[in-house]
Amino acid sequence: MSEQIGGLSRRNLLRLSAIAGAGVALGACDVGGNEKTGGGGGSGEGKITALFMKQAGYSEDDIRKMTTDFQTANPKITVEPTFVAYEALHDKIVAAAPAGTFDVVLIDVIWPAEFGTKRIVNDVTDQFPASWKSDMLGGALATAVYHDRYYGVPWILDTKYFFHNTEMLTKAGVDAASLSTWDGVMAAARQLKAKKVVEFPLVWSWKQAEALICDYTQLLGAFGGKFLSEDGKQVLFNTGGGVQALEFMKHSLDDKLTNPNSVESLEEDVRKIFSDGQAAMALNWTYMFNAANDPAQSKIAGKVAVGQTPAGPSGAPGCNGSMALSVTSGSKNQKAAWTYVSYMTSADVQNKFAKSSLPCWTKSYDDQQVISTLPQVVAVAKKALGDMIVRPQVPRYNEISQILQAELQNALLGKKQPKKALDDAAGQATGLLA
């Protein structure tokens, strides 16, 4: 090492700088203003690639089966699916965008504003049939919309439901009907703890990640809070219901009703802890019902009940956790990509795989095939899906979410008072709304 540096003569250093300078000069091209090289329609045939996530919603197996069926129906198109963790999905879409690596991507309900304004995914408003708008559920349609334009087709319609372990509740003598309000849930948790049925009755996904915001959103809605003002220019989560929601979370930790490991858990951890019989109640997405009732991966199969999210003083809105399939702007084969998206989101395909994720189509909820696969969930979903709260639809949502995640954790770990933490988050977030 020292040999190279020590032996570097002044002339060589100059040469090196010249080469580095050339690198900088070349690097400067483009930032000045070359035209964007976009994708193309393509022939509607050939190979396309698609990016999905590995957790919640449809399983990897489901998606592979759907894709095989699609290829049978469309022999001229081959699809290569890729799967990543939800936590890596956003960044992968962004990093792959310029190269057009993926033709179809799965986007979360919080991203249309960002991906739409930055033209990472296509505006498909003109291709979106009017019949879809009337036939899909309102909560689903909102998934892919930003400023009245569609940036994808809704595919996973989801909100967080409240699950409980029927055996534990019976043991503690708790009436399941009392779980319809958060006050009732807390009373039930105290009773479960007092009777030593389970050490920590509740478990949540409060890790510093988007999952934390989902749980917080649901509570914020129940306590009547708002993320932003009507005009979207002011942060409001540090007032009223927003603060009460966080205080509620903190109290449940302080009273040892919530598993302290919640602050390092994601949805999958919640599922495992709940399925392991180490928690009596939990919020989670639809998929947990099926997974926790599967004897192969659960110790409590057959003892799982699902209900709507409990109500607070201002009702019981569920966090809209839906996702959509989009065609990327960098795709060279957008026609084939759209064919694939149309197929995957169709009512027939969604009905067939309703076990993992409920369909986005209104008529599906009267479909015997759907009702018979998950009768308990469908009954609850009919009510829950009509009342959902969305996280802020702003282009810089991801940044705001990161700030909020950190401050929520500051409060949950007792490093700041809830109000102070939210004020600090609001202070940093306000500048990002413009």
Partner: protein, 326 residues
């Protein structure tokens, strides 16, 4: 080593049809014909193109981007903002918090790896039976990819069903299952350090083992004759003679530790309460999650400058220690 440059023997013409000359490479390149130089350059061209393509061009582009306000991954026209990205990011308290974590991580992990590494190297150098087996086993952690190492430690330290809790509880070293990565940001940072040290100590040990093997045994024999015990021999002979190897390891490990990213991404994701967020992790979040590519580029350059300063400082120390070495 640097002295080799000045005491280089004068260029020697290669003997016709003779074997390879022992002189430095310049000795035979210089007198060669123009055709040979051209051939050499042609052969070097692909490598130069690769270096330019994957190192210099991206580095140059990142520097340029850091003066603009690039907020999407696509090429296009973006406003020029001068040094605003740098001033903005330098006044961001989140950067300074991340910098504190980075400095703590760098110092503690490097120190830990060095101390453990010296011990391990001494052990591996000792004349024990099955030494080859021990050496092979010790290198294993280092052969593991960091991502795998991170995932492994995340499972070991899982609060609910991790092996660490099970072992410590069953040995009655702790009362109950506890959280390692979730409830205390400082503890989580230290646990990441443990995971990092577990993997990298073996690398440090092997560098030092190589250094140990250059120390002549006669020195120890002479010391023993003079009545010096093993402790004294270690401090008077081993440590001073190991100094070049230690310096090298320090340079490598400090710079690597300063750039720590993957193990944090896998083990904690920067949490809890951003307590394990380091500068490179913050850079990643800014660039890719927030799509503030210019801020990310500015942060990356600040990191590069810091590492460059560190490297220069170390190289100077290294050279001084070499000059003083016998």
């Amino acid at each position: 080593m640097t002295t080799a440059e000045t005491s280089r023997p004068p260029p020697v013409r290669p003997a016709r049809g003779g074997g390879r000359p022992a002189a430095p490479w310049r000795a035979w390149v210089r007198p060669a014909g123009r055709g040979q130089t051209r051939l050499a350059l042609t052969l070097l061209l692909p490598a130069a193109a690769v270096v330019f393509g994957v190192v210099l061009y991206p580095a140059g582009r990142a520097l340029v981007i850091s003066f603009y306000d690039v907020d999407s991954p696509f090429p296009g026209a973006y406003p020029f903002v001068g040094l605003r990205n740098y001033t903005e990011v330098l006044s961001d308290p989140r950067l300074w918090m991340a910098a504190r974590h980075t400095v703590y991580f760098t110092i503690v992990s490097t120190a830990l790896e060095l101390v453990l590494g010296i011990g391990l190297a001494l052990l591996l150098a000792a004349p024990i039976r099955l030494r080859w087996l021990f050496r092979a086993v010790v290198i294993l952690p280092w052969a593991l990819p960091t991502i795998v190492n991170g995932a492994m430690w995340r499972w070991i330290l899982n609060a609910q069903y991790g092996a660490a809790n099970a072992v410590l509880t069953q040995l009655h070293l702790q009362q109950d299952y506890r959280s390692w990565l979730g409830t205390s940001p400082f503890l989580a940072l230290n646990m990441v350090i443990v995971a990092d040290a577990w993997k990298n100590t073996s690398l440090v040990a092997f560098f030092l083992l190589a250094g140990l093997q250059t120390i002549p045994n006669e020195l120890y024999e002479a010391a023993r004759v003079d009545g010096a015990g093993p402790v004294r021999a270690f401090f008077r002979i081993t440590l001073p003679l190991l100094r070049p190897a230690i310096a090298l390891v320090l340079v490598l490990r400090t710079i690597e530790a300063f750039k720590v990213f993957d193990i944090i991404y896998v083990m904690t994701g920067g949490g809890p309460a951003s307590g394990t967020q380091t500068v490179t992790f913050f850079t990643y979040l800014q660039a890719f999650s927030a799509q503030r590519f210019s801020v990310g580029a500015a942060l990356a350059y600040l990191t590069v400058v810091t590492i460059l300063l560190l490297a220069l400082l170390y190289l100077r120390l290294l050279r001084q220690s070499e000059l003083r070495a016998p």
